[in-house]
């Protein structure tokens, strides 16, 4: 007794693509972000002492002050993320290229922040699609950065057209290797990937510490750092200083597209999704679940490794300790927000990248700590994870089918 309206039967690829994405309830995601921002504003207001002072004057003054504080904070966040429109206008009017670049820099810097999020988010999303919870993206990022930076400084004499792909590939291979181990352990012994990937993270952190102090250390530096990568390995920047925007962003978009093709257009992707949604049916259909599990972890590791390589080849140009500020962990939230769909990952990576970049200048201009972004991310994620809250607040109808955000086969018992 399923009530369905008849719909047109012929659909093109884009329609299927969109259906796949919107089935995961676009409205709820949008409202989750919206509600998160509102609550974040309330939080900013109640933690600002001036608001309390204003309340001492009168109730309405207090409310007004609270409102203004939230608006100012988000205003600063927004200008930090996309630039100040007045400044941009003035810069274009003056015609000075350096001024223009400075004015539009925030927007491109946000894209720079977005790039590793896309890679790492794809890694976690791919894992989710196959029913694997890859918490090891952070460790895979470190290993990818290590192998990428090594290829960047240790292989001389290559033209950029070869050196860059080689270095990116090295990064991917490093991460893939780090994903392969938990994948193999899961397939052969049943060891849960959540545990093993967390362990692999610690190994990666300490391993990279040791390499940076020893074998890979730049002898001319006092603090542990690797040598600078060769110019031939640097991901080309599209604008002059101070804009750091580099082609890594487009590589990330390309990877998102490739992951989409893999998952939804190939027989391999069909197998991966079958393993992810129903292991029993996958076995029934003759799929080797063991090998697909390993392959999925290798691919996920490779994508996270590219996030690390992207950072050292495109932004830092060398590897320093603790270079990744939790991209791998944020990307778990990000993949959930993007409903494990490549397009969703790109969109949520943009959100996270802009938030993070905007928050940095927000901290400088209005003094609200950057941690507000973590709170915002946490709030949004909480609402995504518990859509019932959003449905209740906005009195949305309950969907006909239970929505399965992520099905983790190993946790179903």
């Amino acid at each position: 007794m399923s009530p369905e309206k008849p719909q047109e039967s012929k659909k093109n690829g884009l329609a299927i693509f969109w259906e796949e994405f919107s089935r995961s309830n676009f409205l709820v995601i949008f409202l989750a972000i919206f509600t998160g921002i509102i609550l974040g504003g309330v939080l900013v207001a109640v933690t600002t002492p001036e608001v309390y002072d204003a309340f001492k004057v009168s109730f309405f003054a207090g409310i007004g002050k609270a409102f203004m504080t939230a608006v100012n904070t988000y205003g600063a966040l927004l200008t930090g993320a996309i630039g100040n429109p007045e400044k941009i206008q003035a810069a274009f009017a003056s015609g000075d290229p350096l001024l223009i670049r400075r004015a539009i820099n925030p927007f491109f810097e946000s894209l720079v922040q977005t790039t590793p999020y896309i890679f790492a988010g794809l890694s976690v999303a791919l894992g989710f699609r196959v029913g694997l919870f890859n918490i090891g993206a952070e460790g895979q990022i470190y290993i990818g950065a290590l192998t990428g930076v090594w290829a960047g400084y240790a292989i001389p004499g290559l033209p950029p057209i070869i050196h860059i792909p080689v270095a990116m590939l090295c990064g991917a291979l490093g991460g893939a290797m780090w994903g392969f181990v938990p994948g193999l352990l899961k397939a052969k012994t049943g060891a849960h990937e959540v545990i093993t990937t967390i362990m692999m993270n610690y190994i990666a952190f300490r391993f990279s510490d040791w390499l940076l102090k020893g074998p890979m250390a730049d002898p001319t530096e006092v603090t542990p750092k690797t040598p600078w990568i060769l110019e031939s390995a640097q991901l080309p920047q599209l604008f002059a200083n101070p804009i750091r925007f580099h082609i890594g962003f487009f590589i990330a978009l390309l990877m998102a597209f490739l992951v989409y093709l893999l998952l939804f257009k190939t027989t391999w992707g069909m197998e991966l999704r079958m393993v992810g949604s129903n292991t029993n049916a996958a076995q029934y259909a003759g799929i080797n679940v063991t090998s697909r599990t390993v392959i999925a972890m290798v691919l996920a590791g490779g994508l996270a490794g590219m996030a690390g390589a992207n950072e050292v080849l495109g932004v830092n140009h060398r590897l320093i300790p603790a270079f990744s500020s939790g991209y791998g962990f944020d990307s778990i939230a990000l993949a959930l927000l993007g409903k494990s769909h490549p397009l969703g990952v790109v969109l949520s990576a943009l959100l996270f990248g802009f938030l993070r970049n905007g928050a940095r200048s927000m901290q400088l201009t209005v003094g609200v700590p950057i941690d507000i972004v973590s709170i915002l991310q946490a709030l949004i994620l909480a609402f995504i994870a518990a859509p019932a809250i959003i449905r209740t607040i906005y009195r949305l109808k309950t969907p006909k089918h239970t929505e399965d955000i992520v099905s983790l086969r190993s946790w179903k018992g």
Binding site: S2, P3, E4, Q7, A281, Y284, H401, D404
Partner: protein, 510 residues
């Protein structure tokens, strides 16, 4: 005197669907009232309303003539309404008493569980209704039939007067069913009332005092079991002429297709599930495997389809040894498999119907070119199969999860039957399906037999096995204890064999 339960004009709407349309139902004290209807007819919704799981949009529930406001199962129990679910809600490692008192614990000294008092009450109930239950036995050691009685005790312990029994016979042997009917008789003799939900027509006629048939959310009629016939009831349920008897063409037996020799298979816990069995299935015949659930059927089918590796013995398919082949190899040799649990094994519920229709052929031409899936061909194939197998769905893009059980099963049948096959292994092919779908699946199954396909039918529905099979093998505790001719076998004979009793029946070898 007011009837013990009266439902007046119960209406429940779900988005786009009228699940219950002004349903009236009256249950008298001391009666077994059968509620008959196909899946999706609305009987579950109605019972969930009565049990407080749903709230009706319109209508009243009257208990003993007084309007009852049932908002949750707790209210239902307070009003004296209890439900024996199809899937038992028991804790296997607890004793009968512990299970019964769970949620309604007797305590002494201000908080210490009083097991002995509860056990005494359980014993009293057991004696009063002839249930024959030891209050201190552990659930895990009890056969299914006894576990069901524990569920009944749970309700009686809470002083339920109206017992809703949801498909209570589905898991029982014919002998256990007879026992259950006796117990139900005792219960009503003592003044309880029973609402008996089922789609098995024979049982209704055997035990009910009154029958109400529901179709499409409406009551289509009430009859007296003394005057109604099976065919009348089936027609009322489905709303058209239904053929209950299956027409079977004469057999055209061919060569041996599947041969099983000394097969030994372990269950997941390491116990022996299949113990050195031998049988063969020839082209153009249906070999039925009868037996009570849990006697090795699952492991047998899994080992024949490559999902489980046997520890000993050989399986040959058309002369080829497939004992250690994987599922894909076995499928490619021309085996079709209708798995016993369609949602667990046979479908990926979150994928669209079109993908489910190529679940084990997606990698072959024309569905893919190299590594690329050809969505166009997959969708076209899906649309054709939806049409030719009459799968009721708005489109092939709908996920399999949103279809009814019957239509889900049709997806599997469409997928498995639409490629050339030599062997069909059908495990519980009609479990949980309504009369219309059962009729359809049976017809398709026999079509395959007549086309010269070897069919292995594994079913716990004795009627189904008897109707379809040319030969019947009875599986008991992992062994085939007899293979009998399908034409001459009787229900009593098979029932005894299913219970492991071979004494009175000489073993026939064909």
């Amino acid at each position: 005197m007011a009837p013990v339960l009266e439902l007046r004009g119960i209406t429940k709407r779900f988005p786009g669907v009228l699940a219950n349309d002004h349903i009236d139902l009256t249950v008298e004290k001391g009666e077994i009232h059968a509620l008959l209807g196909e899946n999706g007819a609305g009987k579950t919704t109605l019972m969930n309303i009565l049990y407080g799981l749903y709230h009706p949009d319109e209508g009243d529930i009257l208990v003993n003539g007084i309007k009852a406001n049932i908002k949750s199962p707790i209210d239902a129990i307070k009003a004296g309404v209890g439900m024996v679910h199809q899937h038992f809600m028991l804790v296997p490692v607890f004793t009968v008493t512990e299970n019964v008192m769970l949620g309604e614990e007797f305590t002494k000294y201000g908080g210490v569980l009083d097991r002995s008092l509860a056990a005494k009450k359980v014993q009293e109930i057991s004696d009063k209704y002839n249930l024959n239950i030891d209050p201190n036995a552990y659930i895990k050691d009890m056969p299914v039939g006894l576990q069901q009685r524990v569920e009944i005790i749970k309700l009686l312990f809470r002083e339920a007067n109206i017992l809703i029994m949801d498909e209570p016979t589905a898991v029982l042997t014919p002998q256990e069913v007879t026992e259950l009917f006796k117990i139900m008789q005792t219960l009503i003799d003592q003044g309880k009332s029973i609402i008996f939900i089922t789609h098995k027509l024979g049982e209704v006629l055997e035990c009910a005092n009154k029958i109400t048939v529901i179709r499409g959310g409406k009551v289509v009629g009430s009859t007296d079991p003394k005057t109604a016939s099976m065919n009348d009831l089936a027609n009322m349920m489905v709303g058209r002429e239904v053929k209950l008897e299956v027409d079977k063409a004469p057999q055209k037996i061919g060569d041996t297709v599947l041969e099983v020799q000394d097969l030994k298979v372990l269950d997941p816990r390491g116990g022996i599930a299949i113990d050195s069995i031998n049988f063969e299935v020839k082209a153009g015949e249906v070999l039925g495997i009868a037996g009570v659930q849990g006697n090795g059927q699952t492991e047998l089918v899994r080992s024949l389809t490559g999902l489980l590796t046997p520890i000993d013995g050989t399986v040959t398919l058309n002369g080829q040894d497939i004992t250690h082949s994987n599922p894909r190899q076995i499928t490619e040799l021309g085996t079709a498999h209708i798995p016993e649990d369609r949602q667990k094994d046979g479908l990926v519920l979150s994928l669209p119907i079109s993908d489910n229709l190529v679940l084990n052929t997606y990698y072959l031409k024309p569905y893919s070119k190299g590594i690329w899936l050809d969505q166009k061909v997959i969708i076209e194939t899906g649309e054709n199969l939806v049409k030719s197998f009459d799968i009721r769905t708005p489109s092939v893009f709908t996920t399999a999860s949103s279809l009814s059980g019957g239509n889900q099963q049709k997806i599997i049948v469409a997928r498995e039957f639409s490629r050339p096959i030599k062997l069909l292994i059908a495990s519980q092919p009609t479990r949980g399906l309504d009369v219309g779908s059962i009729e359809y699946i049976h017809k398709r199954l026999l079509e395959k037999r007549d086309e010269g396909c070897a069919v292995l039918l594994v079913s716990t529905e004795l009627d189904e096995v008897m109707q379809l099979s040319d030969r019947i093998a009875v599986l008991y505790r992992g062994k085939i204890i007899a293979i009998v001719d399908g034409k001459t076998a009787t229900k009593e004979q098979l029932g005894l064999l299913m219970a492991g009793i071979t004494g009175e029946t000489e073993k026939m070898s064909l």
